[in-house]
Every structure is written in C-alpha cells, then in structure tokens.
Symmetry: C2
Subunit: 350 residues, 2 copies
DNA sequence: ATGAAAGCGCTAACAA
DNA sequence: TTGTTAGCGCTTTCAT
C-alpha cells in the first residue's frame, strides 16, 4: 500500500470524493463541521496530495511570461536561450513560457505592458526591469488580478508581491572589491569604476558594496567616482579616453554593468595598464574569451539557467500556493576565473 | 486543442491504444508494419508522451539509494541532509531515496554492499566511494541487472555505466592554484599541501591541477610534496608540527581534502604564519567560520543540494530512458570568499 | 498480433 | 450542503 489518496481520505472522513476535493481546494460550500472532519483525517492519515494527478485532471496549463529588456546584449540573449531551453524541458510539465521584450528604459511602456497582462492570458510573469515608480505600481496592480510575479535579476524591493530571483548586488559589489583588493597584491594606485548608468538600483548597490571593501584599502587604492557609458559606444570611447589620460597608475577596473564588450574595447584602445586588474559581471562568450586571454581577471556571475528555472518554479509555486525548497532557489554569486571556467556545453541529452 | 495524446496517435495510426502503448514502450509483439505506422504517426502529429500521466498510470515508484562513506565529517553530513531534504520535496514525484553507509576505506565491503542491491529493491544507486578495482567491478555488474548508477562526488572513470556527478578535480586543483598565486601577491616562500590520503584519485587529480599552476610561479613559490593525515588527529598534529618546524616562510597552504577541521586546528596550534594564504575545499559550518574570521582565504566548493538533486534527476532519466538538460546537470566549481558567502538558510517554504 | 476496458489520483460538471 | 460520475493521458490485464 502506497501513500494515502483522496479515496482513503474520503473513507476515513466519511464523506465523498467531491467533498474532499472541496475542502482540499477551499472551494467553500461545505459545513465547517465537515471541513474539520476532513482536515482531521488529512492529519491522521498523513495525506499529501499528488500534484501531477491534480494537474492531469485539471489539464492545467501554466502560462508564464518573461518580460525582458529589448536590449541586445549577450547577457539578455543568454537569458533568452535559457528560457527557450526551459520551455523544451517543461513541455511535460504543462508549462509554457513566452517572452516579451520591452524598451529597457521606458518605465511607462513597461508599466503599460504589465497592465496589459490579463488573467485569461497569463498566470505568472517574471519581470526584468529597472525599479521605477511606474513599474512598481504596475507590479502591485498585478496582485489584484491574481497574476503571480517575480522580480527577475533586478530587484523590486518596494513591490512586496514580487519575489526576487537574483543575486544580492551589494554582496556582489563587495565580492568584486575583495577580489580586486586581493588581486592587486600590495600595489598602490587608482581604481576606476564604470557602469551603464548609476540610475539603476543594481549599480548603486554594487557600488555601495564595492566601496565598503575599498574603504579598508584606502591607504593604497584610490577609488574614483563611477563613470557612465549610457550604453553609447561613442560616449564610452570618449569618457574612457579622458579618464585614462587623467588618471595616474590605474591598478584596477570594476565594470559594474553587463554588456561590457564596448567598454572593454574602449579600454583596450587606450591600452590596458600593465598588471591592471579588471573585474566584470556575467559570464558570456565575450567575458569568457577575456578570461582566457587574460585581459580580464575575474568575472562575477549568476547562472542564467538556474535563474530561469528558479523563477519558473517560484511562479508555479505561487500559482498553486505550494511551497518551494528555499535552498534550491538561492542564487549564488559565482566567481569565475580562468581556471574554473565551466566547459562549453556541447551536447544535450544524457 | 492541446498537445496530441495517445488517443490522437491511435486514431491517426489506425490502431488501438494498447498497440500504441506497445510500440511506445518497445514491448514487442507488434508487426513491423504496424510499428512503422505508429512511428510515422508520432512524427507527423508531433506526439510527445506525458510522463506524469504515465507515472500515474504505472504507479511507478523510483527507489533510489545513496551509498555514502560512514565517515562522520561535516561534508558527508551535509550530503545526508541534502538527501533528506530532497526526499521531502520528491514525495510528489514518486521518488523515495534512502541512504546506506559503508566503511569508507573497505573496498570489499563496499563492493559487497553493491552486489547486494537487487532490482526488486532498488532502481538506481548513487555511489560515493574511492575508485578501486573491487568497486569498479561491482558497479559494472550493476549494469547487468539493470540498476542505474551514478558516480557521486568521486568519479569512477573506469566504470563506463556510471555517469559522474561532481566536479572536475583537476580543474578544482588548478583553481586553488590560481587563487593561491593571486592571493600571495608577489611574495616568495613555501607552499604546503595537505590531504587525507594520496591514495584517492580525487587528491591525485587535484594535486595535478594545482601543480600545473604552481609551475608557472616556480620562481617565487616552492611547493612541497603532499602530506597525508590519514584522518588521524594525532598523526595530523605530528606531521604539521614537523612540517612547520622545517619549512621556512610558508606563504600558502592548500588543504585538498574535506573534513579539514582537525588539520586547521593543528595548523593553528603551530601558529599561522603572517599573511599565509590558506585554501581548502567544501563549504561547511567550519570553513564558513574560518572564512569569516579570516583564518581561511578561500574555499572551493560544490553545491551539495545541486549534487544530490542532479544525481536524482540523472538516475531517474536513466531509469526511464529519458534525456536530461545537460546544462542543468553540470556541477560548478564554486569559489567562496568571505564576501560572497551565501547567507545561512533559515527558513523553508516560499 | 491486436483490441476493449478498467483504473492510477484527482477534478468538475451535474444531480440530489 | 453533499454525492455521483465521467474524464485527464497513459498503462495493463484479459480477451480475441
């Protein structure tokens, strides 16, 4: 005899399957006394419902959507791929996930797209967007119409209904700081920090953490204010050139944004100072190459596959009101050096 | 209309459900012509079978067992916990996993336990044991009786039927080397390597990788032969004392084994040389403390939760002859420093 | 060699 | 308020 089933429950509680189902799914229309009897029975026989069977019976389809920036950088593309991959391996799990691209820096458009989402189109949404008032409000509105939501990669700390799937950016900044401090040995000099925009909360948090560590090494490392590229190649080239001209002895560079190939090109154009330690974010084809050829020393990254799968699990858990395994959903701040580069994935299937 | 089902298949192929099932599960007793018709139909309508439904109908139970060393170190205990946790979250997935402890260094006993496993008790087994001829043969024998097997944490490169779930130890050793080289800055001095026993293939591979990197820094880092503790506290204290007495200027220590608390105590008793960089393996409560208080500088680790879940997925995939998502099963070589220490897990449930 | 039918654990009309 | 019953997609006797 295996695990207890609804039948056992019904028998023990002295009710019909339908009633069991009603209390199991809180459908109401059941006398409190009956509810209690069933709940008691659940406890007593240690019943735990079989979700696959439930899904089968319901022919439930979880319709999830990922809202991604329409930015064409490698990191976003990797996320896109990871989603596609998840989609394939999820066919069996009655889950279809689709992708919507929205202008990365247009809070109104993003909020609008979110508002467009309706319960009869989608059950859950993962949102990757900078935190703004508009977006935050739109997310809060999702709660009312019962759409589950996850803050994806970018945290939305003021939208209480959005569970965050991503790394702690302040800790990531600290990690970058520690690596930079270690890797520069005992050398003295300047540290330059570059990002796309300091408007983004992620950048602010990373900088915060980075500075916390740099402060401990203030006697030898002089950290400059953050430079912003605005994702513009020309501007990037210009500010890097200016900075390189005016900064003596650059011993470290911290690139806080993803999509750093432009920036790296600009830096290379100016000449990488000898022994200069360069640290960036997100393991992509580009940064992988940089690690191998030694132009970058360390990359701080998060596993996009894990990110995507975790989001999907959390969304489904919220939709079905089931719990998740906390430890499985924690996204690690991974440090990638030349020597622990994961091999490229060649094949699928066992 | 959703995904095509067996019914659609039967209709299109002009056969009954039973026949469809026969060819789907290669049960035989079907005319080749019929088989072909069904296979054609599968292709034409893009049928992909619903595993949960199949499991439901079969009332399949996947009975898995983990064979762990009876060693009582923290790493093994963490694995134990991770397995228990997986067990809980797998109830819904018709999977029960149990644990068997075997004497870590008794190949005969291990082989014997493996041989004891029979198809009507267990469907798959994850084996964590040092590679020896006896164990390898026992694993190979499992193939004959159709029990799926996974080499867990310790690779079994000569047992072709054992898929390896764990990290590349040679790369792990290289990573340790790179970290040690970076963290020692430009300092000159001795590097000591300690492990439980060099008998184990894991230690050999790590040492190999470590040496490969050390060779590049031979001008300033002098690496000594590996010292073996044999997991014996007294011996550990003695060899460390001798080594510390006879080695001038120790700037780095690489602890290749897990369960290093004894070794760390011995080192501390001798006094940690100033600025000495200590690198070890596996993030446990002990190494976590060491990172926080600064007595250790870096820990190379693998996520035990991931290790366990991945093993389970691979085993089930092999049992059902289904494919897995390669990228999800790759175990990363994680580098943990003080600043990217994952927070302790306090709570479960969403 | 093939098919009909019952059933896995759960849900959802429809009755009562 | 409660129960009956027919499935969900697949497997598995037992007939034919």
């Amino acid at each position: 005899m295996g695990k207890p089933t609804t039948k056992d429950l019904a028998r023990v509680a002295g009710v019909s399957l339908a009633t069991v189902d009603r209390v199991l799914n809180r459908r109401g229309g059941v006398r409190q006394a009956t509810v209690d009897r069933v709940t008691a029975a659940i406890k007593s026989i240690g019943y735990v419902r079989d979700i696959s069977a439930a899904n089968l019976a319901r022919s439930t389809e979880y319709r999830l959507v990922f809202l991604l920036p329409d930015h064409e950088d490698e990191f976003t593309r990797m996320i896109h791929l990871a989603i596609d991959e998840a989609n394939v391996s999820m066919v069996h799990e009655r889950t279809t996930v689709s992708i919507m691209r929205v202008p990365a820096n247009d809070p109104h458009r993003i909020a609008q797209e979110i508002d467009e989402l309706s319960t009869d189109q989608v059950d859950g949404v993962a949102i990757m967007a900078p935190e703004t008032a508009q977006v935050r409000d739109a997310i809060l509105r999702l709660d009312a119409c019962g759409i589950a939501v996850v803050a994806f990669v970018s945290n939305q700390p003021n939208a209480a209904n959005a569970y965050f799937v991503g790394i702690n950016n302040e800790a990531a900044g600290r990690t970058a700081g520690q690596l930079l401090a270690c890797f520069t040995g005992e050398r003295q000099g300047a540290v330059r920090v570059i990002t796309e925009t300091m408007q983004s909360r992620d950048s602010q948090e990373r900088r915060l953490g980075f500075d916390a560590i740099m402060a401990k090494h203030a006697s030898r490392l002089r950290v400059y204010p953050s430079m912003e590229t605005y994702a513009d190649a020309a501007r990037t080239a210009k500010i890097v050139a200016t900075a390189w001209r005016n900064t003596p002895e650059i011993v470290g560079v911290y690139l806080m944004h993803h999509g750093i190939s432009e920036t790296m090109r600009a830096i290379e154009a100016q000449g990488i100072p000898p022994k200069c330690v360069i640290i960036g974010h997100e393991l992509t084809r580009h940064t992988r190459t940089r690690l191998v050829d030694g132009t970058m020393d360390a990359v701080i990254t998060q596993d996009v596959g894990h990110l995507v799968r975790s989001s999907i699990r959390v969304l489904k858990a919220r939709i079905t009101q089931i719990g998740t395994v906390a430890s499985q959903e924690r996204i690690r701040i991974e440090i990638i050096l030349r020597e622990n580069l994961p091999e490229d994935i060649k094949t699928n299937g066992l």
